[in-house]
């Protein structure tokens, strides 16, 4: 990838770009192509990460440190993580990469019609979000970041998180080497409510259901497990809410009043015990869930947010989508079963010849 190719609008990415831009960014591009509402943004390639490592002359050090890791030895993992992170943190982000980020951020600012718009800076690792290896929660995201300088720093922090102890241990466990990572930078969705939806019931495996978890504020509270979210099961076929469990939601994440980053605050008493999603919002989520599933052709685990100050359906944004892993196996139907054969076996005559 040439230097100029290190950034790309998210809208220009497709599934096939996951090797150069990582799983998350390419999935977001795929969503945009399917006309699913995604906050605009740009992606940074894995090449940018490699340029950073090369320019700092750290590729040798990283390889040596990683070669000392043995998967079961916690001390070796922590030691390597510490050494690599220190080195990466004190290395400068190459000017050329900083310039690319600043240019893409300026374009985003223009698109948003805002000076220094708040953005989310999120890791988009190779292998991340793939069906067979879920890195869920092991790599960092930085929310509510403003200004080109801070965005550049957040990008480096994302890169560093590639060498956090859990990420190193996980890769060692899978036998992966040569880690690399892309980064997605998106306009921030000022979420009133956010959460996760599955395009099937992840517990029972029922493909006719959409399962939704939701809580107040930014998605950190739900994804990080800091609240017990409201829990809904909605029929894809009829839109009926077949299960609704409203829980007390004590905390939420909101943008820091200082303008950078987020803070965790108590949810005001009057909003705690009430459902954070009404029926129209659930219907909009079902609709979006169905479209995401269709776009990828498989069951998806989707992060979403409903933005402040807009109305449905325009207020609903998809933040990321990845395949659902570990669905329960369903009972198989005997091959070439006739209706009568099946009825017979229900009556308890299943072993005899039909």
């Amino acid at each position: 990838v040439s230097e100029a190719g290190h950034t790309r609008p998210l809208a220009a990415l497709r599934r096939g770009d996951s090797q150069s831009f990582g799983g998350k960014s390419s999935a977001l591009g795929e969503l945009i192509a399917a006309e699913i509402p995604v906050a605009p943004g740009f992606a940074l390639s894995t090449g940018a990460f490699r340029a950073f490592v090369e320019e700092a002359g750290l590729d040798g050090k990283i390889a040596v440190e990683l070669s000392r890791v043995s998967p079961g030895d916690v001390d070796s993992v922590v030691g390597a993580s510490h050494a690599i992170s220190e080195a990466l943190r004190s290395a400068p982000v190459p000017e050329s990469v900083r310039d690319l980020i600043a240019r893409a951020y300026a374009e985003l600012s223009e698109e948003a019609g805002l000076p220094d718009p708040p953005v989310a800076v999120r890791s988009s690792a190779l292998g991340e979000d793939a069906e067979d290896s879920t890195f869920a929660g092991q790599l960092e995201s930085y929310l509510w970041v403003r200004g080109a300088e801070r965005v550049g720093d957040a990008v480096r922090d994302c890169w560093v998180s590639l060498f956090g102890p859990p990420a190193i241990a996980y890769r060692a466990h899978l036998g992966q080497d040569e880690p690399a990572m892309g980064v997605a930078v998106q306009l921030m969705v000022d979420a009133v409510v956010s959460g996760v939806l599955f395009t099937c019931n992840p517990v029972s495996g029922d493909p006719s259901m959409i399962a939704v978890n939701a809580s107040w504020g930014l998605g950190l509270a739900v994804v990080g497990g800091e609240v017990t979210p409201d829990d809904f099961l909605v029929s894809k076929v009829t839109g009926e809410v077949v299960r609704e469990r409203v829980h007390a939601k004590d905390v939420e994440y909101v943008p820091d009043a200082g303008g950078n980053g987020t803070v965790r605050v108590d949810v005001p008493e009057e909003r705690r015990a009430i459902s954070c999603l009404d029926r129209p919002a659930l219907q909009a989520l079902v609709e979006v869930g169905r479209r995401v599933e269709r776009a990828f052709g498989s069951h998806q685990d989707v992060e979403w947010a409903i933005a402040r100050g807009r109305r449905l359906p325009d207020s609903l944004f998809v933040l990321q989508s990845r395949p659902v892993t570990g669905l329960p196996k369903r009972r198989s139907t005997p091959e070439n079963a006739t209706a009568m054969g099946l009825v017979m076996s229900w009556f308890g005559a299943g072993d005899a010849e039909v």
């Binding site: 019931n201 029972s204 495996g205 029922d206 493909p207 006719s208 259901m209 099961l233 029929s235 894809k236 076929v237 009829t238 009926e240 809410v241 077949v242 299960r243 609704e244 369903r330 009972r331 198989s332 139907t333 091959e335 070439n336 079963a337 006739t338 209706a339 009568m340 099946l342 009825v343 017979m344 076996s345 229900w346 009556f347 308890g348 005559a349 072993d351 005899a352 010849e353 039909v354």
Partner: protein, 591 residues
């Protein structure tokens, strides 16, 4: 279980074998007996017990002796304080199950393969039975036999009356035989389809399965459809002003009779009555549930309601097109979610269910409503004969005697009429009748527990699961102590959530108390109550599954319903505010 005060001696109403006894105690105590409040929500009058004996003879015959359903024989019953408890007889030895399976394959297979022709023959048989019942005559006892006995070849009266009584009993046997001929197999196909759906779509609401299978042109809905048509006709011909809320059917008829247009409308009504007014006013297993012919209050109230709705510009049509489209849409959307392998079974079973399920819906009208309401009236004719000769005070009293006691009373009546001697019956039977009426009234105040005996680990009996919705899960829920908790759970039968004031209805005679906007709480609703469904906001029942007729009608009327709660009528009281969630299957007591 204790006998309620003042009910001592209730056992005399029932046959010796219907009671729990010392000789069978050891085995009976190990069995699980649940109150069949779906069919027998009230204490059984002695005569009405025929609907237990004959029905279970028929069910057991088909399930156990004809089709040899591998894991289950028939249903036993016992009576406690007038209420009927039932228990399945499982087949436990694996060799026996395997042996039965071979017969079952061959026999049930034949029925499934030839369903359409067998079912057509069945309808003809049922219509023949009803015609035979109508033609059955109960002869009067005259001073002298008619000339035809001497100069023609007519039977003597005593022979004819006893023969008519034996035949009326035989017709009941035949009706129950027909009733169960297809029922188990029909439910079997449906339940297999439901099981396949649940294996692949574990969260699918039961009502969606029912919607995919449900028939569109079902005779159960015809009576009300005819009433809607007559309501439109009344408006079109300008006779609608006769229908005023609060007027009795007789008053409405009188008002209509005053002019030609009204008389023309009444003539049109007459055409509808046969057969559609053979709809029962309650589930037909008790003698006091008559037909719309016997008591036209329900259809007339319904006509008045339909006319008022039409004049208010409301659409009263059953949304048949919408139901048909939704049925196909659900089937194709759910089908599309399945992999190829499951899809094949899904399509096959849906096809079979749609073939066989019309029977499940149709038999109710022909057997339980049309036949039974006519049949009770024929028994009343025998009661009339006994009353005329002083054996009973009123013809209705015939239902206080068992069918064998009635035979015995007729025997004596005909004997003493023939001999000219003095009958003992007029002093013997009336005190018995009086005592039993009082007992039944007292027994009705007792609240039967949902089940007695040992809770089984699993319920395997197809009939119990299919007909009563008694599943392992349900049984274990019943077994828990009734808590003072504010929530009841049951089977979600028709979606939607509403809050409102409860109206607990324990007998059909209380139906008239139901007010606009209330939530009906009852042991079991019957589709014959259809007109009150336009008044209520939701329904809750003690027993019944998603295939119960209450559930079917609630879906028709788009009312939330929770069925099979076990104890709604004993935990909820009239006037209490409750919330019914027909999607989740919960009933919350709000105060």
């Amino acid at each position: 279980v204790d006998t309620p005060p003042g009910c001592e001696g209730w056992e005399e109403l029932y046959p010796y074998y219907a009671l729990f006894d010392e000789e069978r105690r050891e085995t009976d105590e190990k069995r699980f007996w649940f109150w069949n409040s779906m069919h027998f929500p009230l204490p059984m009058p002695a005569f009405d017990a025929i609907c237990i004996d004959t029905a279970y003879q028929a069910l057991g015959s088909w399930q156990n002796r004809v089709f040899a359903v591998p894991p289950a024989m028939g249903i036993d019953y016992r009576c406690i304080n007038g209420f009927i408890y039932i228990s399945g007889n499982p087949v436990t030895e694996p060799e026996k199950v395997a042996e039965r399976a071979e017969h079952f394959q061959r026999r049930a297979g034949y029925y499934f393969e030839h369903w359409d022709e067998l079912y057509a023959a069945w309808r003809a048989k049922m219509e023949g039975l009803i015609a035979e019942l109508d033609a059955l005559e109960v002869r009067q006892l005259h001073e002298l036999e008619p000339d035809e006995v001497v100069f023609g070849d007519q039977e003597t009266t005593y022979c004819a009356v006893l023969d008519a009584y034996r035949r009326v009993l035989r017709l009941a046997d035949l009706m129950w035989q027909n009733h169960f001929e297809f029922l188990l197999l029909g439910y079997g196909a449906y339940v297999t389809f439901a099981e396949l759906c649940k294996a692949h779509l574990p969260d699918i609401p039961d009502q969606h399965i029912a919607q995919m299978v449900a028939g569109l042109d079902v005779s159960l809905f015809r009576p009300d459809a005819e009433l809607r048509r007559l309501a439109r006709l009344a408006i079109d011909t300008g006779v609608d002003s006769a229908f005023i809320d609060g007027r009795s059917p007789a008053e409405i008829d009188a008002a209509l009779g005053e002019d030609d247009a009204g008389q023309a409308w009444l003539a049109e009504l007459e055409k509808v009555k046969d057969p559609w007014f053979h709809m029962a006013t309650g589930d037909g297993l008790y003698h006091y549930y008559g037909s719309w012919l016997d008591d036209p209050t329900i259809p007339y109230a319904s006509l008045t309601g339909h006319i008022a709705a039409l004049k208010a510009g409301e659409d009263i049509e059953r949304p048949t097109d919408h139901i048909a489209m939704e049925r196909e849409r659900l089937a194709s959307e759910y089908g599309a979610l399945l992999d190829d392998e499951a899809r094949k079974g899904f399509d096959e079973l849906l096809g079979l269910s749609r073939t066989v399920f019309p029977y499940v819906e149709e038999h109710k009208f022909l057997c339980d409503y049309w036949f039974l309401t006519s049949w009770w009236n024929k028994i009343r004719d025998f009661g009339g004969l006994l009353a005329e000769h002083g054996f009973l005070e009123d013809r209705e009293d015939v239902f206080q005697l068992s069918r064998l006691e009635v035979y015995s009373a007729l025997d004596e009546l005909l004997l003493t009429w023939a001999t000219g001697g003095q009958p003992r019956g007029p002093t013997y039977w009336p005190p018995i009748v009086a005592r039993r009426k009082e007992l039944l009234e007292r027994l009705a105040e007792w609240t039967p527990p949902p089940a007695v005996g040992a809770v089984p680990e699993a319920i395997m009996d197809p009939a119990l699961i299919m007909l009563w919705g008694v599943t392992t899960q349900r049984v274990h829920a019943w077994a828990q102590e009734p808590e003072a908790g504010s929530e009841l759970t049951g089977t979600p039968a028709s979606p939607g959530v509403v809050e409102g004031v409860a109206r607990v209805v324990r007998t059909v005679s209380e139906i008239g108390d139901v007010r606009e906007g209330e939530i009906l709480v009852c042991s079991i609703t019957s589709p014959a109550w259809a007109p009150i469904f336009s008044k209520i906001r939701a329904a809750v029942t003690d027993i019944g599954g998603v295939m119960s007729h209450a559930a079917i009608v609630c879906r028709e009327y788009a009312l939330p319903a929770v069925v099979g709660t076990g104890r709604a009528t004993s935990q909820i009281s009239t006037g209490q505010r409750i919330r019914v969630d027909g999607s989740a299957g919960t009933v919350t007591l709000l105060e």
